[in-house]
């Protein structure tokens, strides 16, 4: 049952609730048939953005286009949008069949057509045999699938999902992620998926839009969000454990991170950073991109650290480190020998560091271009 998808365009869209600004000037294009994830901490405006598309909220200023048509004043029922709510919003007094049929009945779709569409949806979602059950007689996973079925029978060009997996247990969630992506490939509608879970975002989104405090931080593919975060917020928000962010000062080819913490910057980075207008920077290091050495290194080649806490997570080990007055996290996959306690040296893979400007926290970019980066990633 593939549908003809439409694109969505937020043009300087702003949303205020009384004095509270939920969204500040959102500029975002979602291509027809794309799977876009809106990601951010709670209260960042992601659900607001979704509800604006659905028409459940009105834009305060700016323009919202659905398939090139100005949609600011369209009623929810006129937008041809299918939505899955966080708590599913199944009608408790109706059976599964009635729940799925309701929207089609209201739209006066022919009886035979309704029957055919529901049958197909039930088959796709594996809900056959549950037609006569009421929502309270279903498990969480089944309810979630009924909500999906109700959305897909509409065959709408837009498919909106508001944290649809948040009420499922961890195991079901992993399974449901895959199912959702498969379902979208079948439907081919334009999908906006709201979540605060970065794993869901990375696995479901073809692109991810990260929001914080009503401001769009970055929109990009999961790879680029991870490898080239646009600012310190994205850098810290994506990745678990989060990226280490160390403020420092660049002087020539040296980076001073604090008392006794000095690193010599290799040529490409040094030239790149000297070209920037400010020398106060924040260095970003992912915990998995650092190395711990027991033998000493030359001055400026590494940072002296002490392990303050260890965690064994099974597939990886986490080390909480103290370097002078700075705290860092390092993670290593299983199979590496356990470092001893006492003084250790932390060394850096300079191909995997990030630099941000102190102040606005924006990325200072990379001395190589994106193509090189992706070649490196797949080498």
């Amino acid at each position: 049952m593939p549908v003809i998808a439409g694109d969505i365009y937020f043009d300087k869209v702003r949303k205020e609730y009384g004095r509270v600004t939920a969204l500040e000037q959102l500029d975002l294009r979602v291509a027809a048939g794309e799977r876009l994830v809106l990601l951010g901490p709670s209260g960042c405006g992601k659900t607001t953005a979704l509800r604006l598309v659905a028409g459940l909220e009105r834009v305060t200023s700016g323009k919202l286009y659905l398939n090139g048509r100005l949609a600011n004043n369209l009623e929810p029922g006129e937008r041809d949008v299918a939505m899955v709510f966080q708590n599913y919003a199944l009608y408790p007094h109706m059976t599964v069949w009635e729940n799925i049929a309701f929207g089609l009945q209201v739209r006066r779709v022919a009886k035979e057509e309704i029957k055919a569409r529901i049958k197909e949806a039930l088959a796709i979602l594996g809900l056959e045999g549950l037609e006569e059950r009421r929502p309270r007689e279903l498990s969480g996973g089944q309810r979630q699938r009924v909500a999906l079925a109700r959305a897909i029978v509409k065959q709408a060009p837009y498919f909106l999902l508001d944290e649809p997996l948040s009420n499922l247990d961890a195991q079901l969630r992993t399974q449901a992620r895959t199912e959702l992506v498969r379902l979208h490939r079948k439907l081919n509608s334009t999908m906006i998926y709201v979540t605060h879970d970065q794993v869901e975002a990375m696995t479901i989104g073809q692109r991810i839009a990260i929001l914080a405090g009503g401001v769009l931080q970055q929109v990009d593919t999961p790879e680029n969000i991870y490898n080239r975060p646009a600012n310190t917020f994205v850098a810290k928000f994506i990745g678990n454990p989060p990226m280490n962010l160390l403020p420092g000062i660049v002087k020539g080819n040296q980076l001073f991170l604090g008392e006794g913490l000095k690193l010599i910057i290799p040529g490409n980075w040094s030239a790149w950073l000297l070209g920037k207008s400010q020398n106060r920077v924040i260095m970003g290091l992912r915990p998995e991109d650092v190395t711990l050495r027991e033998e000493g290194v030359a001055e400026g080649e590494g940072l002296p650290v002490r392990i303050t806490w260890r965690e064994n997570c099974g597939k990886e080990r986490l080390y909480y480190l103290a370097a002078g007055d700075k705290e860092l996290t390092a993670s290593f996959s299983e199979g590496r020998t356990e470092p001893r306690g006492g003084e250790l040296w932390l060394t850096i893979d300079w191909d995997k560091v990030h630099f941000f400007a102190e102040g606005d926290g924006n990325s200072l970019g990379y001395p190589w271009n994106t193509r090189e980066l992706s070649l490196k990633a797949y080498a």
Partner: protein, 304 residues
């Protein structure tokens, strides 16, 4: 040295009954005194002829029942009761239901103001309401007729017109009970999750479809309560304006069963007949409630 005696098993059994019955006793005493005893007395009285004065009521068997069932006045009161009930169902169930729906889901500004305003009449006593309406309905000086005349509409003498007296009295009762029913229904309506309504709005469902297919079934438990209360209380509340304003007139055009019973007891002193009418009324309402339970409960959705 004293040995504390354990209470025996028999004592424990008695004690097990004593506490619950002890707790029930005060309520039971009042129920017995003011509900069961009058009920039994009424039943007994319905087989006697007694004018409340003579020392010995006279046993007449089923005569009271036969006479009541044969009398035109009783059936008049019966049909009037139905008429009142139907009007009250429209004004005190359907109307507050829809008003509450509008105020809970469609109007968002000034909600508290409207709620207070609508509930206000409920705090008045029905007797006061009756007097207010006596003035409003005044055929010559009353504002209702003044307004109707201004609009060029016929201005009937409300309380002395065969055709209008029942609606006019029903409106008084409805005006007073509206607010209470409204608040009860509103409480039911605001409990309907907003997400369900939003989901329906995405399907282009009209406000009426949302009300009829989602909100109404989800609040049917509350609505059934209001329905039963409207039927039972409504027919009794109407008594106050009848008694105060029309005394069943003109020519019994505004009587109902409760007023009929009252009239036979305290105006005509035919307590036996009145008791028989009361028993018949009880049976009618009992049957009605049984039907309601049988027919309507099926369609009611309860959360738990």
């Amino acid at each position: 040295m004293k040995i504390a005696r354990e209470p025996g098993p028999k004592f424990a059994a008695i004690k097990g009954y004593l506490v619950p019955w002890g707790c029930l006793a005060p309520a039971l005493a009042f129920l017995a005194l003011f509900t069961f005893w009058p009920l039994v007395s009424t039943l007994k009285l319905s087989f006697y002829q007694w004018n409340m004065v003579s020392p010995t009521p006279k046993w007449v068997g089923l005569t009271n029942y036969l006479e009541i069932l044969r009398s035109r006045e009783f059936w008049l009161a019966f049909w009037h009761t139905l008429e009142y009930t139907l009007i009250l169902l429209a004004l005190n169930l359907a109307l507050p239901y829809i008003t509450a729906y509008i105020l809970s889901h469609l109007v968002f500004k000034g909600q508290n103001f409207y709620r207070a305003l609508i509930f206000l009449p409920s705090v008045l006593s029905l007797a006061v309401a009756a007097v207010i309406f006596l003035w409003l309905y005044n055929p010559l000086a009353g504002p209702v007729n003044a307004l109707l005349r201004l609009l060029g509409l016929p201005a009937p003498p409300w309380l002395s017109s065969y055709r209008w007296v029942i609606p006019a009295l029903a409106v008084i009762t409805a005006w007073k009970s509206f607010g209470y029913n409204f608040i009860v229904l509103l409480a039911g309506l605001v409990a309907v999750p907003l997400e369900l309504i939003e989901a329906a709005r995405l399907e282009k469902a009209s406000n009426w479809q949302i009300f009829w297919r989602i909100v109404r079934p989800l609040t049917s438990g509350t609505a059934l309560y209001v329905l039963v209360m409207t039927v039972i209380i409504g027919s009794q509340y109407v008594f106050v304006p009848i008694q105060m304003l029309t005394n069943g007139g003109p020519d019994q055009a505004s009587t109902n069963l409760v007023f009929f019973i009252y009239q036979y007891t305290f105006n005509f002193f035919q307590t036996g007949k009145a008791a028989a009418a009361a028993v018949i009324t009880l049976i009618i309402f009992g049957g009605l409630l049984f039907l309601q339970k049988r027919v309507l409960e099926k369609g009611v959705y309860y959360e738990n």
